[in-house]
């Protein structure tokens, strides 16, 4: 993937939509569902993830509600969905190997797939492309977030 922005070593693929304040990303799939995950910046802030608990298929979540929780040695917190909708698939692999979130946050470390219920409106509050990279750059610099570590 060539079109990836970078902020202090943290990767920001430009084809995704982001909720920068919640450190989440959304990919719009061809079948109308969306895939949601945590960003590279989020995995870096959390450090190596020890446990990831994801909500169940069939659950409807409003924007901003947790779709799961993540814990590391120094941090525990929710992953908040940037879009409202029904969870139609969860990444079962995270239970076995939570550090997929660290190693491949935009790929194998995805969290849930959802059927969005208000995408056309909610997408207006997300950022993508170069704008996403710039928004992230502002946040990382404003909050002086440390450079991204990538574990193998």
């Amino acid at each position: 993937m060539s079109d990836v922005g970078e902020v202090r070593g943290c990767r920001i693929p430009k084809d995704l939509y982001y909720s920068v304040d919640d450190h989440t990303w959304v990919r719009l799939n061809e079948d109308g569902t969306v895939t949601v995950g945590m960003t590279d910046v989020a995995q870096n802030l959390a450090g190596p993830v020890l446990h990831a608990k994801v909500k169940k298929v069939g659950l409807t979540r409003a924007r901003g509600k947790p779709i799961g929780t993540v814990e590391s040695a120094k941090w525990v917190g929710p992953i908040k969905t940037p879009v409202s909708g029904e969870i139609v698939e969860v990444n079962e692999k995270l239970a076995e190997d939570p550090q997929l979130l660290n190693r491949d946050p935009y790929g194998e470390g995805w969290v849930v797939k959802m059927k969005p219920t208000n995408w056309d409106e909610e997408v207006k509050d997300l950022v993508t492309g170069e704008e996403a990279v710039e928004k992230y750059r502002e946040k990382v610099e404003r909050e002086d977030i440390k450079a991204c570590d990538h574990i193998e």
């Binding site: 659950l59 509600k65 947790p66 929780t69 941090w75 525990v76 917190g77």
Partner: protein
């Protein structure tokens, strides 16, 4: 697993700065419960009260060199929506006045804790 959203957890912390290794986990569990959408309060009493004095929690580091202090966790707890409250009577024992407390802590009396314990779905006592 049933959905835990809205369940009430009351964490009672009786340990303070004199026993640093006993201070972290209760706060961490409270943050975890809040992340799981529960309604969480930590009640600090007995020796637990003294960690809420301004400047004290910063001195307790989770792991030497980690840069993560008890204050980091207390701030995380407040950000996560955990309510922090302290026993009024125990503040007297430590000669603490309301202005000595870190921001975000509510002072409650003994009868309140009994009400809170009765209302909670679960009480965790440390």
């Amino acid at each position: 697993m049933e959905d835990l959203e809205g369940k009430k957890i009351l964490v009672i912390q009786t340990h303070g700065v004199d026993t640093p290794t006993r201070t972290y986990s209760p706060v961490y569990y409270a943050i975890a419960a809040a992340a799981m959408e529960m309604d969480v309060m930590i009640w600090f009493t007995m020796n637990g009260t003294n960690q809420l004095r301004k400047g004290e929690a910063e001195k307790i580091e989770l792991k030497p060199g980690s840069g993560v202090t008890l204050k980091t966790l207390l701030d995380q707890a407040l950000d996560a929506g955990v309510k922090l409250s302290v026993c009024q009577q125990s503040m007297d024992l430590w000669d603490m006045k309301p202005e000595d407390l870190i921001d975000g802590v509510k002072i409650l009396g003994a009868t309140s804790i009994i009400d809170l314990a009765l209302e909670a779905d679960h009480v965790m006592y440390f």
